[in-house]
Each structure stands twice: as structure tokens, then as C-alpha cells.
Symmetry: C2
Subunit: 137 residues, 2 copies
DNA sequence: AAGCATTAATTTCTGGCGAAATTAATCCGC
DNA sequence: GCGGATTAATTTCGCCAGAAATTAATGCTT
């Protein structure tokens, strides 16, 4: 019993760290850019893909978000003019999702905030400092 | 620009790790014991405290859960007979929360599942293997 | 001791999530 | 080419979370 007494502590540290960063990110993105984390992440995947990217599910696979949640997220983004949904001729079940110009610029602005928040809460890995320690402890 | 290109990757790893474990935990606790993660964590804090523990907020502070969410979680636990709410004489705003016998035994059973799932997904830290320790470090 | 700010907990209220049901198109075996 | 299985996306449903409003007790200042 209790063969790995550190496991629970390890998990709690992970939870605390995740929640701290996620909460800070969510607030900052919402306040400064009116985006939820899911919305930002969705834009992020589209920017990474460069061109138009089909398959809502393709994005979902990268994102740990259910297909239904992503469908609604994309609907929200479209309503706000950041994204466009289009037909896909080759497979008419599929849906193309592509960034609008405004989507691209909103993402660019939000990405600055995003990295700033990460920088505040995570250590750059090549420079282990005192920062993250306090979060984890 | 991109002064810390690894930051985003680090964050994504953390998110993936957290989601993977949290999802597995949630499923296992729900299927085997009918408990949500929040409910289990609440029981866990009460067991750790040993005696009756007042201050809903005291528990909340340990748990990264808002006071309102915890209030509802405790209400659910009470409805299921795992926990009791009682008056606190010294400060009548406060509410004592205490485990029932069934709460104690349900927690004990669930804790086994809990540790098993953690063991599957996290490395014991004293034995760094190929799994996910790298994410946390 | 009266009045106002503060603190503890609960209760709306709104919004996002996942599971399951639904709709629609494609694939496949005959 | 027809009918059943599969796949892509959406919609519906119920649940849980946080923010803000509410209720109630305490503390503080005069």
C-alpha cells in the first residue's frame, strides 16, 4: 500500500500548475481580446496550418476537444467574423474552416498576450529559475 | 519575437498531460464509484483533515474550486449521504462539514482506483521512465 | 447600541463541455 | 445501382463551473 506515495503529490502539483496557468490565460485572453482559450487554440491551429484547413475533426484531434465542442467553438468564431466555414467539394460531408483577415489579426494580437502569460508562469526550460517552483510547491 | 519558442510546446504538453490523466480519472471514478473528480477531491481533503473540518472555504483554498462550486459539490455529497453539514457554534456563519461512515468507506474504495489511474499515467518520480515525467519537470 | 463594512455560505444565472441522438454524404458488398 | 454500415458535422440534452447577487452573522467605529 502507498507504494508510490509521491504520486498523489505529483498529480496535485500538476493540477495546480495547470489551473494556475489556464485561469490566468483565460482571464487575459478574455479581457484583452474577447477570446476563450478554446477559441484562441482553434485560431492557433488554423494559423499553424497556413492554408485553409478542412476537417473539423482534424483540428479537434490536435486539441483535446470533443467534436461537438469544437463545432460550437467554430460557430462562435464564425459569428464573430474570425473564421469562415465552407463546403468541401471532394467530400461533401466535410467542412472547410478558414481564417478571415480579422481572424488572423486578432490571433496575432492575442498570441502576444498568450506568450506573455506563459512566460510569467512557466520557465523557459533552458533557464531553470525560481519561478515555477512556487507554483508547484 | 519567439524569444522562447519552447514555451508554447511546454504548455501544450502540460495541457495534454493534464487532460489525459483528468479524463481517465474522471471516467474511472465515475464508472466505478459514482464520484466526480471534485467530489473525490473533497472527500480526500476531509479524510486528510482527520477530524471534522469547518470552513468550506478552507477546503476550497486547497482545491482550486470556487466557493460556489464547492458549496454545490458538498450539497451533492450530502444528498448522497457521504458528508454531513452542521452548524458551527463559535461562528454561526461557518458550516462544519464532516464525513459519514459511508463517506469514509466510499473514499477508501475510490482512493484505490485513484492511485491506480495515477500509476498508469504518471511515473513514480524515483524511477524516471519513458512516460510523462518529462512534462512535469 | 446603531450603522456600515466585511466575511461565510448559498443561490441564481449564464456559458461551455461531453455523450448521445440526428442529419447527411460516402463507402462497400452484392 | 441498392441497402446497410460508416464517417463528418451538428444539435439536443443534462451537468458542472465561475461571476454576481443574496442572505445572514460578525466586527468595527463612533
Amino acid at each position: 500500500m502507498a507504494a508510490h506515495p509521491g504520486l498523489v503529490d505529483q498529480w496535485r502539483s500538476l493540477v495546480t500548475c495547470y489551473n494556475t496557468v489556464a485561469c490566468a490565460l483565460d482571464r487575459a485572453l478574455q479581457d484583452a481580446h474577447g477570446l476563450t482559450m478554446s477559441e484562441f487554440e482553434t485560431l492557433d491551429r488554423l494559423v499553424e496550418a497556413g492554408a485553409a484547413k478542412r476537417r473539423v475533426q482534424e483540428i479537434a484531434a490536435d486539441m483535446y476537444l470533443s467534436q461537438s465542442a469544437l463545432s460550437r467553438t467554430i460557430a462562435r468564431l464564425e459569428k464573430n467574423g474570425l473564421v469562415l466555414r465552407g463546403m468541401c467539394e471532394s467530400d461533401r460531408r466535410g467542412v472547410f474552416v478558414s481564417l478571415t483577415d480579422e481572424g488572423r489579426s486578432r490571433h496575432a494580437a492575442a498570441a502576444v498576450t498568450h506568450r506573455a502569460i506563459l512566460g510569467e508562469h512557466l520557465t523557459p526550460a533552458d533557464e531553470p529559475s525560481t519561478e515555477k517552483a512556487e507554483l508547484i510547491t
